[in-house]
Chain length 677, copies 2
Amino acid sequence: MRLTTLLVSGVTLMAASFGPAAYAQPGGRQAALMPLPAAMTTGTGQLLVDGGFTVALAGPADPHLEVAAHILIQRLGAKTGQFLAGAPVAGVKATLTLTVTGVSATVPAPREDESYTLKVTPTGASITAATSIGINRGIATFAQLVANGPQGWAVPVVTIHDQPRFPWRGLLLDVSRHFMPVATVERTIDLMQAVKLNVLHWHLADNQGFRVESKVFPKLHQLGSDGDFYTQDQVRAVIRYAADRGIRVVPEFDMPGHTTAWLVGYPELASQPGPFAIERHWGVFDPALDPTREETYQFLDRLVGEMTSLFPDPYFHIGGDEVNGEQWKATPAVQAYMTAHGLKDTAALQALFTTRVQAIVAAHGKHAIGWDEIMDGDMPKDVAVQSWRDAESLKKAALAGHAGILSAPYYLDLNWPAGRHYAADPMPDNLPAGLESLILGGEACAWSERLSPENLDIRLWPRAAVVAEKLWSPRAMTGDGAAMYARLDAVARDLASAGSRHESAGAAMLARVAGPAGVDALLPLAQAVQPLQDYRRSALRPDAVQSTPLNRLVDAVPAESGQARAFGLAVEHFLANPKDVQARAAVWRPLMVWAQGDTLLGPHVAATPLLAELAGPSAKLARLADAGMAAAEALHTGKPMVDRAGREKAVADAADAGAELEFAILPAVARLVKVAP
Amino acid sequence: MRLTTLLVSGVTLMAASFGPAAYAQPGGRQAALMPLPAAMTTGTGQLLVDGGFTVALAGPADPHLEVAAHILIQRLGAKTGQFLAGAPVAGVKATLTLTVTGVSATVPAPREDESYTLKVTPTGASITAATSIGINRGIATFAQLVANGPQGWAVPVVTIHDQPRFPWRGLLLDVSRHFMPVATVERTIDLMQAVKLNVLHWHLADNQGFRVESKVFPKLHQLGSDGDFYTQDQVRAVIRYAADRGIRVVPEFDMPGHTTAWLVGYPELASQPGPFAIERHWGVFDPALDPTREETYQFLDRLVGEMTSLFPDPYFHIGGDEVNGEQWKATPAVQAYMTAHGLKDTAALQALFTTRVQAIVAAHGKHAIGWDEIMDGDMPKDVAVQSWRDAESLKKAALAGHAGILSAPYYLDLNWPAGRHYAADPMPDNLPAGLESLILGGEACAWSERLSPENLDIRLWPRAAVVAEKLWSPRAMTGDGAAMYARLDAVARDLASAGSRHESAGAAMLARVAGPAGVDALLPLAQAVQPLQDYRRSALRPDAVQSTPLNRLVDAVPAESGQARAFGLAVEHFLANPKDVQARAAVWRPLMVWAQGDTLLGPHVAATPLLAELAGPSAKLARLADAGMAAAEALHTGKPMVDRAGREKAVADAADAGAELEFAILPAVARLVKVAP
């Protein structure tokens, strides 16, 4: 294995690499670290990871440490395809020794010492940490470092001293809009561990489903979940599974809005009379708990009591977002209450509700956490805020003494480019000194209106790794989006070996869409498009409901087209070197594939509805790619582009791709056409 | 959806199809049935399977029936990507009604009524059967019939009356050589259900591992399994899981040979003194139970008692194969016993052992079944034989009144072409009339010396479906190998949607092998090769052990190259039409890809050991493909081939591809070169 030293944002970084273009080769397979470690020095040589690889444990006995060793062995076996001994060995002859100085608690706490030191020499490796939690972070690094070289699988000689920038690095998993089975949740936890995320924010209840068994109020899950809920035994198993990986589980019971599914079984909680049905549409809805009746708080006290017993984390998420107040405005008794208590609007009424609920949560020994709106209440300082707004909202909370986490720029379901997530920092600008420690970190969010168990990984991975790096690595190391992208392909492959189905599910879903046309006919289009970003899919399909199939091309393709990104770089290079034959070819080759795709797909579009909606996008792509080829030819030869008006129309038409897609190659082609003579 | 009527082996068969080449289009995605049903008449129109699809149950309540409905709904959801209601509905308005006249037993019996009638009209469908077992077979057919057409997912109008040709249609899963986790076993059961296999033959103990918990003799699994064993709770769960799918579970405890793993914990069972260690190599070994000591039978009586309580099936497999007798010959006490009892050789001694063990099995209320060798014992007529030899062996057993099942031609781990399995019939030639019912069926076998949980599906699927068809469909329908192949691609896709990882695992393993070269560079070689057939891999690598990695190209590629098969057909067509430009192009195109593959892969072969061993095969493929192109050109132009000697040498050199591979395209290229002018 050749060792390459790279300078990333001023930090000397070494990576196991296989070619001159390590960290810069799209589709490359070199090992890559994400998140980048805080400090790393490299040496010469490597430690082989062959069939004789063994792990030893040192320090006080801790079941979590044994599990960590087992996880690493499983992970390395899956990555390398070797059969590794399944249990830690005693003694000092092991390939890797995991050493702790203390025993970890049953579940991780919010500010654990996650630091670790990883040392690799040609004869052995060691990871040392305060507890199994730091070891968990170290084994994630170790697993990423393993790469295949001329002598086989190996880890380069290296010394890493690492610790996180932020203590709260979460992933919000919405299981209400679409239920995610336990196996899917556990796979998600595996992948979180691989990129050092440490909080599973389990969004368990919303208008479209109440997903956890309540023994106290069983109609919550019985009538509010279509039978798709977690039993309390399953919840406990998931919490154990996460704890073994150094990951906290924070449950969210969003209230007083987002509660339609609660009201199916308990309509008396609403201010308007029922009956209520599970909400099937997406959006913000009127039903809300009635904040004016004592019975509401009695119910919540018992429910919070039950759920705080089930979930050991000190934080309990009460939601609090997006209450439109319509039901309260339409209820005379609520209006009378507001008048009697001098509440000027429904926001003030919600603030009162939040204050009451926070008191209930506190009485059960927990810190409340909620979305921005809960700061409207009269909140004690131990309450934390999660912002769907922006870092400024966190700053405001911090100035009032509240800790906060940022989510606004990390919604993975909105199909932003990874670089856009990466550019956002949780630390508010101009935060007064001394308040930094109140910025706990952030959370990537997987809202599941358009995520199913089938395509979840396509939306989450590898892009959650980008957020994970933003939250773990020193700020100075996370400023370079290009360097991040250069590692992302290798990280994607590593995550696939850790269980992510983003590749396999994508392939299977494309095969389903392609149907009789065959995948080869669909690939040119599939690689040129991306799903619409932000909420534009919702705007186009306000009729979409929970059961609307997520089996279309838009559901199968990644948020960001790697081919389009590579094409964009090729166009940039070509524009700087328009006479260069190689540079022209690098632009020309993919354009030819895209220009010809419709001749393969076109004959099949009538075969199925999944294909029929692609007739337009496929034809538009052909014209767009034609325009790009004409422009490239004009730039290369210096002769004027033929049919400029037609080319410009092709570019303009491509702005609306159709089928809830957008052409990822559009900006680069538009640029070619614009600057062509 | 267009309906195409095909004549398959004299039976009118309809398939949902999407083009003129239905059932004959490699890579096509049309629905296809495998096994073919016994009788099928088609109509006009179709029944949509959209998001409103529902299932109703009729007849006596049966939990197995409810599970069957649930399985179908899950299966259709996975296949179509639609969200289907998760529970059977009451009343007659459902899309599909499942009707039984009786309740199935807790676990299936050996000769259940598996027949069913499936009727599909444009407004609804019904499956009727005696019990949930026939329903299980019917839902497998229904799921295969679902295909995507112009109006969306639908089932064609059809009436099917179906029943199996043989009652015993098994799959032997060897979990001793390489352990297969419970999830893998359950996935295998899912896929067996999808192709109507009905017996999981669980090969639980062999030299390399004793894989089931014994509470009576715990050192069996504690010392004989490396910790990789099934708890009795897990065994019961697997049996339930299989029973829900109408599948029996027959355990095998192979004895008196193949028992090294038993002897690690209980060396006193052997005729030679221990200590013994788990066998790590593959092959036939000396250790065997001592048949001359009463203690051996006392041990077996207790073990068989425990295991017959755990496994409810009336059959109990005692193995009995491949005893080399070496330990017995080397043991004076055994020799003295043989002399005293007039046993002329170790086969006679084994016959005595088998007779004793059969009596023990019978005393515990079970029928013994074993491999061919057990017929050497003095066996009562209720004992059945499983043949690793041939159908003639079954005939001999049948003439002596014994039932039998055939496995010899169905070893899926030997990497034979599917057509070779398909050509073998379990029914012996010239079996005297009246004995046919003694031929119970057969079993596909997955011996796991070179199967891991990772590549299991690559070896099993879709090829086990071919054996399943041989065992289910009327003999007259299973004579046409070409027609079988024409359906196999669609069946492969259907099985992938049912959970098979043959595609996804293959892709991930190829990516690992390709490493820094990238998959695109590896594909030309990967698609031109197959693993060596029969036991030739073992012959080349006698040093292979249980921990030898199964991560090489040979482990990742399917047993049979679809590209090579298509190429063979193209060559056949070209040889009949050598002047035809299209025919030449169809041969030329893939040859060009194979000829150029080495220019992509060659530069990377030094990067890793997984690639290094491919340097030779890759270079040989380039020369072989070159020779094919030269021969095709000569045939097309009529001009003599340039460098005949060199071309012939390229063909000769390709006979030994290297890396335990063979060139799947070799026969077709050799033919081109041979007949070229």
